[in-house]
Every structure is written in structure tokens, then in C-alpha cells.
């Protein structure tokens, strides 16, 4: 057989990525749901599947065992829960054959306990075949809700999703989606995506979703996270993380592991940026008064 290097189209590689992680999960008894990309029902993505990675939502109690198995089979950690996203919801891995996988331990915007949320989506799961392997996915209503919640965090890229799965949805479908949003206690993020956020001005996570969906300074985002945290302990954890340097991101920016000196320098750069943003915000408020 010819061993010469040939390029494999990204959509093909991603389909194998779904199949590979499902096969691995089946072997160790880990539950996961494929979300986004090739796992999305064609009725929700008239333009076809897109994306540059594989996304899976894992039963929270199975995250550790799956993480261990992935590392044993060639997936390297690219960014951790702590450093990947400000929500701390997903961890990214890179595999030489399959490309990127985002492993979600919960989905931003859903306020019920992550284990309960997973169980709710798992209860209605379906199975589809990707690259010849049976992969578990949320049912179509669950997929639609997750696409809308995802759009709340990436309004430009995912505006088409909101139009296809919500604005153009039938009344019965909308009712099903709203019932699931209620079960998952995700009304504010959902509203942020579909243009109803102002109905939730009194909610603790209103400011967070306003900033996430409309944009805002980094310091404003951290302050909003502090306010959105349901407990004092979680709020303090948010604060303790705020000034930390995202070492993974710095490493990717530099293209190598940063030195201790570069991490320290980045720390002070972030501090200066936060102070400058705070100062500009104060000036802006002052100018309006």
C-alpha cells in the first residue's frame, strides 16, 4: 500500500474525530453526547455542517476517566478547563490524526447542576452514524437549544444558527425548545441569543450575558462573572482567576512554552490593561453624567 503523505480534507478528519472519541468512550463506559458540527441534524443546518473541531459534552462524573484514556491514545492537552475559556467549561485536545476535540464538562448558559443537565439531555438522546460508528447526540430539540445557547457566546458566527433553529422554527418546535430551556434553567443566555435579554434585567447573570453577547472590556467581563456566580465561594474563585496569566494562550501566541520572565511580564501587562480599562470606564461614565 502506498504510504505517501496525502492530505485528508478537514470535514473527513472531523468525522473520524467524532468516531474515534465515541469508540474510546464506549470502550471505557463513558457517556458523552456529540454536539455541533457533523453531529447536528441536517434540518437545523441547511447549509451543511461547518466547524474546525469536534465538540462533545461528557457526563461530568466521567470526565476524569475519559481525559485519562484520551491522553493514553494520543490526544494532547491544548488548553485546560482553567485556561481555555473564561467559562471554564471546556478543555481542548489535539490529536495528530483527528485534529482538535473540545471536551465540555458543562454548557455555558445552563444554570442547573451539570450532572442534572447532562442527564436531561441524555434522557432524550438519539444515535446517528458518523464514520461508521454509532454516536449519541441530543435529540433535535436539544441540539437546537444548544445551538442557540452557543450563539449567545459567538453572535457573529452563529447568527445563521439562531435564524435557522429559532426564528424560522414552527410554534410547536419553539414551545418544545422553551420547555427544555426551562428544564435546564437557561433563560438568560437563551434570551441573549434570540434578542430578548432585556426581559431579564433583574437576573444575576444578566450583565454577564449582555457583555458576552454584545462585547465589553475584559475587566467588565470579570466583574459580570463575579456578579453572576451563584455562591460567594464561586465568586471568589472567579476573582482569584481574574488576574492570572493564561499560560496556554500565551504559549500559543508565542509558539513555544513561555519563560518564567515572560509569564511575569504578561501578568503585569494584564494588570495594566485592567486598570486602563477601569479608568476608561470611569471616564466614560463621568462624561455621560
Amino acid at each position: 500500500m502506498n504510504e505517501s503523505e496525502v492530505s485528508v480534507p478537514l470535514p473527513v478528519r472531523l468525522r473520524f474525530g467524532h468516531a474515534a472519541i465515541q469508540h474510546l468512550a464506549d470502550g471505557i463506559g463513558a457517556d458523552l453526547l456529540h454536539i455541533k458540527g457533523a453531529a447536528v441534524d441536517p434540518s437545523l443546518r441547511p447549509g451543511g455542517a461547518a466547524g474546525t473541531d469536534v465538540d462533545v459534552l461528557v457526563r461530568p462524573s466521567h470526565v476524569e476517566v475519559l481525559d485519562r484514556a484520551m491522553r493514553q491514545h494520543g490526544w494532547r492537552l491544548y488548553s485546560s478547563f482553567e485556561n481555555g475559556s473564561p467559562f471554564g467549561h471546556a478543555q481542548t485536545y489535539l490529536h495528530d490524526a483527528w485534529g482538535y476535540v473540545d471536551l465540555h464538562r458543562y454548557f455555558p448558559g445552563i444554570r442547573v447542576d451539570p450532572s442534572r443537565a447532562f442527564e436531561r439531555l441524555w434522557k432524550d438522546r438519539q444515535e446517528i452514524e458518523i464514520a461508521g460508528v454509532g454516536c449519541r447526540v441530543p435529540n433535535v430539540v436539544g441540539q437546537a437549544v444548544l445551538l442557540v445557547l452557543n450563539a449567545a457566546r459567538s453572535p457573529d458566527r452563529a447568527r445563521g444558527d439562531v435564524r435557522a433553529v429559532w426564528a424560522e422554527a414552527s410554534e410547536p418546535r419553539r414551545a418544545e425548545m422553551e420547555a427544555l430551556v426551562a428544564d435546564l434553567d437557561a433563560p438568560v443566555a437563551f434570551a441573549a441569543a434570540v434578542g430578548r435579554l432585556e426581559r431579564f434585567r433583574g437576573e444575576r447573570d444578566y450583565r454577564l450575558w449582555k457583555i458576552v453577547s454584545k462585547g465589553g472590556s475584559r475587566s467588565a467581563e470579570w466583574w459580570a462573572r463575579f456578579r453572576a456566580a451563584p455562591t460567594i465561594g464561586m465568586a471568589l474563585r472567579v476573582v482569584s482567576r481574574a488576574p492570572l496569566v493564561n499560560v496556554d494562550r500565551l504559549a500559543h501566541r508565542l509558539g513555544r512554552t513561555p519563560t518564567r520572565g515572560e509569564i511575569v511580564a504578561e501578568f503585569f501587562r494584564r494588570m495594566v490593561r485592567a486598570v486602563r480599562e477601569a479608568w476608561l470606564a470611569v471616564r466614560h461614565r463621568g462624561a455621560r453624567q
Binding site: 502506498n2 473527513v12 473520524f16 468516531a19 474515534a20 491514545h73 490529536h95 490524526a97 461508521g132
Partner: protein, 84 residues
């Protein structure tokens, strides 16, 4: 009669350009185009002993001229765990 099949731990994707197969969860992805993809398909479609004849029919080749190469290729696919 021996009929080959794709084992449960092997993923398969096809598009207009090629047939892609990979052992899961480690890979790599093997890309089969043209006659290689045809041999895979015929190997999964009937008796292993007659793969060369069926490939010859589809390509207007003389069975005896391609038999050794086809058999070697099928043997290689089996050795790699891509067919069983």
C-alpha cells in the same frame, strides 16, 4: 466462501474523491482512491477468492494480470486490521 468486512473498530468515510478508513481510536487515516477504493468495495461485496475477477471486470483488465497485486493488497488491508 470467505467474505471480508470492516471490523467494528474501524471507521469509514467516503466522498467523491476517495474512501478513507482508520483504525479507532488511534488511526492513522488510510486514503484509498481509484482502483484501491474499488478493491476495498469488492472485497466487502463478495467472496475473497473472486475479488480479482470482479475488479478485472470493472476495469477491463485481464484477471491473471492483476490477481497477484489485488490479492497482495487485500492481504495488506487485513494485516493492517482494516478488514477482517
Amino acid at each position: 466462501m470467505t467474505r471480508l468486512r470492516r471490523p467494528p473498530g474501524v471507521g469509514l468515510v467516503t466522498d467523491e474523491a476517495a474512501l478513507y478508513a482508520a483504525r479507532l481510536p488511534d488511526g492513522p487515516i488510510v486514503v484509498l482512491t481509484g482502483v484501491a477504493a474499488l478493491i476495498w468495495s469488492e472485497a466487502c461485496a463478495g467472496d475473497r477468492e473472486t475479488v480479482a475477477e470482479r475488479v478485472a471486470r470493472a476495469t477491463d483488465a485481464a484477471p491473471d494480470a492483476i490477481r497477484a497485486d489485488v490479492d497482495a493488497f487485500v492481504t495488506d488491508l487485513v494485516a493492517r486490521g482494516l478488514l477482517e
